[in-house]
């Protein structure tokens, strides 16, 4: 079967302004959401306690709310269904430092008489740990990006590195915007998902860039736009197919992976879509916009080749003992 059969290059560069506009709009909307509405930090980052309770049969959510409200120290606690009607999750900002009796124990006592239940999960994170985790998470993001910048600059050229990192930030920002829009609770696993998007989208972009790098060497046309069009079209089938297989599995994870992994798989789902879009329509125009010069690159490459050849010559001479 062949869906994306290569016939002639798509004229993507001509339309790059339109996609640019779309991306910028999405970015502004995402940033607006992040600043305006803000993240719904889960207990990993905000601190607090989360208790997951499973009832035999339908959970008496009103009774649970009443029971929790009867204790003044749990003001502002929220009770919501979790996945099914049998399970509820209670979230409170309270966290206890005492080892002997903790919030989980107290809430279990409060719930006595609301029915037959089993406490399946109690997560408690102190505020200090929360802020530490947040700092560490941000640090991880920054370090990953620096590492990528260095590697891509070394393997390609600095403009490729900047373009790929800009495409990454584009993807991660839009994914974050969606997280805010759909009110996904931001926990450590969401951070892991965002970093995975980083890796995934980069993967996509690098493969396109690799083809452009190859195109610069092999395609006679010195026009970067034409080279990009040709290269992106050539990799289009691969980009779409891999995204499709990844999309399949992330979708099954989202549909069948259970409530706990839902936020994680949702974030990935968004990431796969945005990552695919950006590696086709966004990354390469940035390269152009940064003023990448085909001629310059060719000269550098030629020089590199010349140096290598000279080295080889020297080595050959040395080995033959003529030096």
């Amino acid at each position: 079967m062949e869906i994306f059969k290569y016939k002639k290059p798509l004229s993507l560069m001509d339309k790059s302004k339109r996609f640019g506009l779309l991306s910028v709009t999405l970015l502004i909307l995402s940033l607006g959401l992040m600043i305006g509405k803000g993240f719904n930090y889960g207990i990993d980052f905000a601190g607090g306690t989360l208790i997951q309770v499973q009832y035999e049969g339908k959970a008496p959510i009103e009774k649970v709310r009443e029971a929790i409200d009867s204790d003044a120290s749990y003001e502002g606690a929220t009770v919501t269904f979790f996945g099914s009607e049998d399970e509820v999750v209670i979230r409170t900002k309270t966290s206890s430092k005492a080892l002997g009796v903790d919030v989980g124990d107290q809430i279990r006592a409060l719930l006595q008489g609301t029915g037959d239940f089993e406490v399946r999960r109690v997560d408690m994170v102190g505020a200090k740990v929360g802020s530490e985790l947040r700092e560490k998470g941000l640090m991880a993001m920054v370090l990953a990006i620096i590492g990528i910048l260095i590697y891509v600059s070394f393997r390609f050229e600095w403009r490729f590195a900047v373009a790929s990192v800009m495409a990454l930030m584009h993807d991660v920002t839009i994914a974050m915007g969606m997280i805010v829009l759909f009110n996904v609770e931001v926990n450590l696993d969401i951070l892991a998902a965002l970093l995975t998007i980083l890796g995934y989208s980069l993967n996509d972009t690098i493969i396109v860039f690799d083809r452009i790098r190859e195109g610069i060497r092999t395609i006679k046309d010195p026009d970067l736009g034409a080279i990009i069009d040709e290269s992106v079209t050539r990799t289009l089938s691969r980009t779409t197919l891999t995204s499709l297989t990844t999309f399949f599995v992330v979708l099954t994870l989202y549909l069948f992976g259970g409530e706990i992994i839902n936020g994680f798989s949702f974030t990935l789902l968004v990431g796969v879509i945005v990552g695919t879009y950006s590696s086709i329509f966004v990354a390469s125009p940035i390269l152009m916009w940064l003023g990448f010069s085909v001629g310059g690159f060719r000269e550098k490459e030629a020089e590199k080749l010349k140096r290598e050849k000279e080295k080889e010559k020297m080595r050959a001479m040395y080995e033959n003992g003529t030096l």
Partner: protein, 526 residues
């Protein structure tokens, strides 16, 4: 048929290696290295504890004060106004100016890790920065050891207790079945287990209910409550003995078949205890644990041999936990919870089930898709994919890595991404076939053209995964690990493995069946 090439042989080895080493994990057999399931999958308790190291420092300062008093009394140096200031230093004043130099020399010789400063007769003694740090580290190390001993004695499967960062303790206890067990474990960890045997101040005890703390202090006494009744006791503040002289503690039963704790004192403790009971017949002695009186029996006769009993209307489990805490020693500084995650076993089982379903479904979808789209090339890619899965499991087993829920998600994701390399290669081969190249040449050039793209793309992803591993905690680390292993395994299976298979079966690939082999129409072949 062409002879086997090194790529196929290498791939076959990798496959055998993968299958052999993942069998113990898949069958959950007793022997062999296995993947450990994370707490989120098997259920259990995860805690990050902080330690109030300032308390350890304060008690160091207290003992410094006691040393100063002891040293000066011994040398008959007269001093006054011995005080603790801000829990950081002690101050006092000498009365005789002639003794300043002698006192200073003495303190500097006897008190390690301190700075002695005097302004005329006024002295202050503080710990050096290094000593403060050493005391903190000592307190945390001692807490780690004590908690580990307690959990080991509790009889649970493989608890982990480790120092994390500078001042935190990570405790992980898998396989806790009930909330009651969890609560018991938390109490066991938290218990300071500071045991003291104290004499009751029989002369003044009659007034204990009307006496203020300050008044008690003025007599050198303290007021402590009974653990069960709340009744107050007036006790001599300096204990007869403390837990440091204890060698063993066991649960026993008294004449009424009530659980009690029997403990044994070391030689020095036994002597002090014998001497004390000898002169205190008819008086009461209180057994005090963590500042609560457990029992205060009347001494009937001198008790030699260093055997003492605590009775205190215990539940059997409580007595059992107390005995463990006493045996493993007191905590130098109290610990508190910074982070706690507990997962019930049923939730863990549900998580495994859900993510396994997702894994199997996702896997089937990808496998079918590859065959439909690429024909036999898809089948070959699927062989690599299966090899890849086994390799991930095998490598994780060998490292004794922990599989967490995000880790399972990582494997699911790897399945989706692992075919990427094969897709890139297959697309390259198709391209070359369309250009009319021979099959052999298309395959060889397809692989070499695809190589740099696969390499660069995977290395950059590995960079992200490494950072994630270095900065992540617990479950995130697990995810980064599975993803990294998956990427490396997929490079091996896709670049080496499938290439080898193509070379091996090349003579069988017929030109006019490109639709069967590569899923394309044959018009390209000339």
């Amino acid at each position: 048929m062409k002879t086997l090439n090194f790529r196929v042989i290498l791939f076959a080895f990798a496959l055998i290696f993968g299958v052999v080493f993942s069998i113990p994990s898949l069958t959950q057999s007793e022997s062999g290295k296995k993947i450990t399931l994370g707490l989120d999958l098997q259920g259990g308790l995860h805690m990050l504890l902080g330690i109030k190291s300032e308390i350890a420092i304060e008690s160091r300062i207290k003992s410094m004060a006691a040393s100063v008093k002891y040293i000066f009394d011994d040398e008959e140096i007269i001093f006054d106004a011995l005080r603790m200031v801000d829990g950081e230093q002690i101050t006092f004043e000498l009365l005789d100016a002639d003794e300043v130099a002698k006192a200073k020399a003495l303190l500097e010789k006897e008190l390690e890790g301190t700075v002695v400063i005097n302004n005329g007769l006024k002295f202050s003694v503080a710990m050096t920065e290094a000593e403060v740090e050493r005391t903190k580290q000592n307190a945390i190390q001692q807490a780690v050891d004590t908690i580990r001993n307690r959990l080991n004695e509790f009889g649970l499967a493989e608890p982990t207790v480790a120092k994390q960062g500078e001042d935190k303790i990570l405790v992980e206890v898998p396989g806790i079945k009930t909330q009651e067990d969890e609560q018991r474990i938390r109490e066991l960890i938290a218990r300071a287990a500071h045991l003291q045997l104290m004499a009751v101040d029989e002369d003044r005890n009659i007034r204990v209910n009307t006496m203020s703390m300050a008044e008690a202090k003025s007599y050198g006494d303290v007021i402590l409550p009974d653990v069960n009744t709340g009744e107050k006791y007036l006790l001599r503040a300096i204990p007869v003995l403390d837990g440091s002289m204890l060698t063993d503690a066991k649960v026993g039963f008294d004449e009424n078949n009530q659980p009690v704790i029997n403990f044994t004192l070391n030689g020095q403790g036994a002597k002090i205890f014998g001497d004390f009971t000898g002169v205190s017949v008819g008086k009461r002695m209180a057994v005090v644990l963590d500042n609560k009186v457990y029992s205060a029996p009347v001494i009937n006769e001198r008790i030699g041999g260093g055997r003492v009993q605590i009775s205190g209307r215990f539940e059997l489990s409580e007595a059992h936990d107390l005995a463990i805490a006493l045996r493993s020693g007191a905590l130098l500084a109290p610990v508190y919870v910074m982070e706690k995650r507990s997962v019930g076993p049923s939730l863990g089982a549900d998580s495994i089930k859900a993510s396994s379903i997702a894994l199997v479904l996702g896997f089937i979808l990808v496998v079918i898709f590859m065959v439909v789209y690429y024909g036999m090339a898809g089948v070959i890619a699927n062989v690599a994919l299966i090899g890849n899965l086994f390799l991930i499991l095998a490598i994780m087993s060998l490292f004794g890595a922990t599989l967490t829920l995000p880790g399972m998600a990582g494997i699911v994701l790897t399945v989706g991404m692992a075919v990427d390399a094969n897709v890139i290669i297959s697309e390259r081969i198709r391209e070359l076939l369309h250009e009319g190249k021979s099959i052999a040449k298309s395959i060889e050039n397809g692989y070499s053209n695809a190589f740099t793209a696969i390499w660069d793309a995977n290395v950059t992803t590995l960079i992200a995964a490494t950072v994630l591993y270095a900065y992540g905690t617990g479950a995130i680390k697990g995810f980064a690990l599975t993803m990294s292993i998956g990427i490396m395994a997929s490079m091996l299976t896709a670049i080496v493995g499938t290439h080898g298979i193509y070379q091996w079966i090349l003579p069988k690939i017929e030109k006019n069946k490109l639709g069967l082999w590569f899923g394309i129409k044959t018009e390209g072949a000339k």
